[in-house]
């Protein structure tokens, strides 16, 4: 929807433009009556907001001029002149509505909607396409009960397509409807917005081709099929919507689809390289063709690397390099061999999904599963992959220990969580003991690795045994693999990695040594020795937890904590005090100021880290 605002009050223009744009209207502004006439008589607007008092030509005269020349665009007149006589004058001049200044912006937008609804019979309150519904009043888009989050331009694009469901809209039509006349978006920008919208609709479960490209003409909404009409009328109970895919699965599916989509292009690039090599063989490779082949090889190398086909990427780079060095005629054979190998590498990856999965999981958290139950392992792996977690499986505690040892020796990645499948019911005492030892060892890692134990029975003694060995969770069978992975995810998210800790202490030596002491936990530490800078640093750092010394010059930790608790935002920030005193009075003062914990100096790193992690996870 496009609105022309004719007003000379800059503050009002600023407020109204922003508000209307937020409500997804495209707004043009004219600051005097004559300019308003030029805009209003040149472009098509859905509505005009017109101020009464304007330089050059007043609002009433302009309104009369619009009506006299046959313009029937709805007009809302804005004025500071109150009273029914003025209102009548405004409406007699041809305005459709009248609003007195000062006015509530929300009232104005409500009147705009009401006016458009009243004057335009086609203006339905809710626009729909099958189960997809767009409500212009609430600016909400819903598909099968699920709210779609669309950016402003995507929302307006969808609204435009729904309002013109039977029409093919050219890029020019779209620009004219969605952008103000002061904006000059390129065709690529419009296409980019359409691509975004299509993708979001597709991810929500709508057909891929809901917005059809009509070659050479533009875009249109796909006509509803009979099936979708039936769903729309709710005559037949439709199947429940597919659960929304998690991010990882969405990502994987999107990348796989990009790979498949560009298959013809890769074939074309291979053919182009083949052509260049054939020309080299016959001594007829022109410079321009060689340069073009270099660009092709470069593009292939980049794209293959992006999809994790490193061997293919390396071969394409070799070809690029050789072509850059102006190869002699004799070198065609070497190049040809490399190209054959490259073609084979590409054709190997008919099903790219596992390869992409491996690539995108490269930096993902790692879960070690210690279990000899292959069915459970496979279910856990599947559920973990869906959550973007990599898995490593070892069939016994002994193999797990060997694997962990190797990871440490090679400085490779240790798992963030371990799942141990443990049997208490059968008589294999040795295996159970090995598992419990493994749990104890994992507890000793710095930082310790949380262990989720899946037991085959629910028994207090078993729980006690697992807890004594340091197990973090005990789940008894039967248990859903998805629940186990959700718990693993929680354990991973509870990790100290990157958590922002701010320490305020006047003991500079302690501040210097603290980062080293807490290094294994990978906190993000900010230290401050002058409490007078506390507030500024706090706002800049926005820590996840605060550590305060009790006694400091100028301001004590207790005072800082009291100040902190007066602020609504910082009321719940975990605060941990460091103290050289074990005095009960001081301890009471600390907790009365709103502290969460008190740790005595000298600091024991393991103990301080555990207390920090406990409060971070509260």
């Amino acid at each position: 929807m496009r609105i022309l605002l004719i007003d000379d009050d800059e503050t009002l223009i600023d407020i109204l433009t922003r508000t209307l744009q937020e409500k997804s209207y495209a707004v043009d502004v004219a600051t005097d009556g004559e300019q308003g006439w030029v805009y209003g008589s040149t472009y098509n607007y859905d509505l005009i907001i017109l101020d009464w008092s304007l330089p050059k030509l007043d609002g009433i005269s302009l309104c009369q001029r619009f009506r006299a020349s046959g313009h029937d665009t709805p007009i809302i007149l804005l004025t500071s002149r109150d009273g029914s006589q003025n209102k009548i004058r405004g409406l007699n001049a041809g305005a459709d509505d009248y609003i007195s200044k000062p006015f509530d912006v929300d009232e104005l937008t409500a009147r705009i909607r009401a006016l458009l609804r009243r004057l335009n019979c086609d203006f339905l309150p809710v626009l729909s396409w099958g189960d997809l519904q767009l409500d212009p009043c609430s600016y909400q888009v819903i598909y099968q009960g699920q709210v779609l989050l669309l950016a402003a331009k995507e929302y307006r694009l969808l609204e435009l397509f729904l309002r013109h469901a039977q029409e093919v809209l050219s890029i020019e039509d779209i620009i004219e409807s969605l952008w103000s006349s002061m904006e000059y978006p390129s065709n690529a920008t419009v296409r980019s917005h359409i691509r975004h919208l299509r993708k979001k609709l597709c991810l929500a479960g709508l057909p891929k081709d809901i917005i059809i490209t009509v070659r050479g003409q533009g875009y249109c909404l796909k006509p509803l099929s009979q099936n979708e009409h039936i769903n729309d009328n709710s005559q037949i109970t439709s199947n429940p919507p597919e659960p929304q895919l998690d991010k990882h699965a969405q990502h994987l599916a999107a990348l796989t689809s990009i790979w498949e989509k560009h298959h013809p292009k890769r074939q074309q690039q291979l053919a182009q390289l083949q052509q260049a090599i054939t020309s080299l063989k016959t001594g007829s490779l022109e410079v321009s063709d060689r340069i073009s082949a270099i660009v092709t090889a470069h593009s292939l190398a980049g794209n293959l690397g992006q999809f994790g086909l490193h061997q293919g990427s390396r071969l394409a780079k070799d070809i690029e390099q050789s072509l850059q060095n102006d190869p002699s005629q004799e070198q065609w054979q070497t190049l040809n061999l490399k190209l054959t190998e490259l073609s084979q590498e590409i054709s190997k990856e008919r099903d790219i999904t596992p390869q992409i999965n491996q690539t995108i999981l490269a930096n993902s958290p790692l879960l070690l599963i210690v279990s000899d139950n292959s069915q459970l392992n496979s279910q856990l792996t599947q559920a973990a992959t869906h959550q973007g977690i990599k898995t490593e499986i070892t069939a016994s505690p002994e193999l797990a220990k060997t694997w962990l040892q190797k990871q440490q020796d090679n400085h490779q990645k240790l798992p963030q969580t371990v799942i141990v499948n443990l049997s208490f019911a059968d008589s294999q005492n040795a295996l159970r003991q090995e598992s419990l030892e493994l749990i104890s060892e994992l507890k000793l890692f710095v930082p310790s690795i949380p262990v989720i134990v899946i037991g085959d029975r629910d028994n207090f003694q078993d729980r006690l045994l697992v807890a004594r060995h340091g197990g973090s969770f005990y789940l008894s069978q039967p248990v859903n693999p998805k629940q186990i992975i959700t718990l693993s995810l929680q354990a991973i998210q509870c990790s100290s990695l990157g958590k922002k800790i701010m320490v305020v202490d006047d003991d500079i030596e302690l501040l210097q040594v603290l980062p080293t002491l807490l290094e294994p936990w990978k906190f993000q530490l900010t230290t401050l020795d002058d409490p007078r800078q506390f507030w500024d640093v706090l706002q800049a750092v926005t820590p996840d937890l605060l550590i305060l010394d009790i006694e400091m010059p100028h301001l004590s930790g207790i005072e800082l904590c009291k100040v902190l608790r007066t602020h609504p935002y910082w009321r719940k920030l975990p605060v941990l005090f460091l103290s050289i005193y074990s005095d009960l009075t001081i301890s009471n003062q600390v907790f009365a100021s709103g502290a969460n914990d008190l740790v005595n100096k000298p600091i024991i790193p393991q103990q301080l880290a555990s207390r920090i992690i406990n409060h971070l996870n509260d």
């Binding site: 690529a188 975004h196 990502h251 190398a301 794209n303 992006q306 995108i360």
Partner: protein, 126 residues
């Protein structure tokens, strides 16, 4: 934090799509795409994105020329630019950084962590 807009300037359609998918799915930010340096300069002026991802090696106008034009234009000079560059690029990282980009992301990149990488570089919360 899903109101950020990134402008990607890269001539490779595959990379355009991978970046778009990665950033939109993982961070929910909008990605505007330009296939050439000149189109990128136009879009940067119109969209005023929060950051620009700029490919170094492009035909016609390469990333370095595009960057200098973005920096010379008062409307785009303050938009942070991150270079996208292949590992094998002959121009060194330090040399590229000295041109006025905030950082460099090397191709191939992990599309899952791309948004968090950008957020980290620019000090954005995710």
């Amino acid at each position: 934090m899903n109101d950020k807009q990134i402008l990607l300037i890269d001539d490779e359609e595959t990379i355009q799509e991978v970046v778009q998918v990665g950033i939109e799915i993982e961070a929910g930010w909008q990605v505007a795409i330009a296939s050439s340096g000149s189109e990128g300069i136009d879009l940067a002026q119109i969209h005023q994105p929060d950051a620009i991802l700029l490919d170094v090696m492009m035909p016609d106008m390469d990333g370095i020329s595009t960057l200098s034009r973005l920096k010379a234009n008062v409307k785009t000079a303050s938009i942070p630019v991150i270079f996208l560059t292949a590992k094998t690029q002959s121009t060194g990282k330090d040399q590229l950084k000295s041109l006025g980009v905030v950082d460099i992301i090397t191709k191939p990149f992990n599309s899952v962590t791309l948004a968090s990488q950008i957020a980290k570089i620019l000090g954005w919360k995710m």
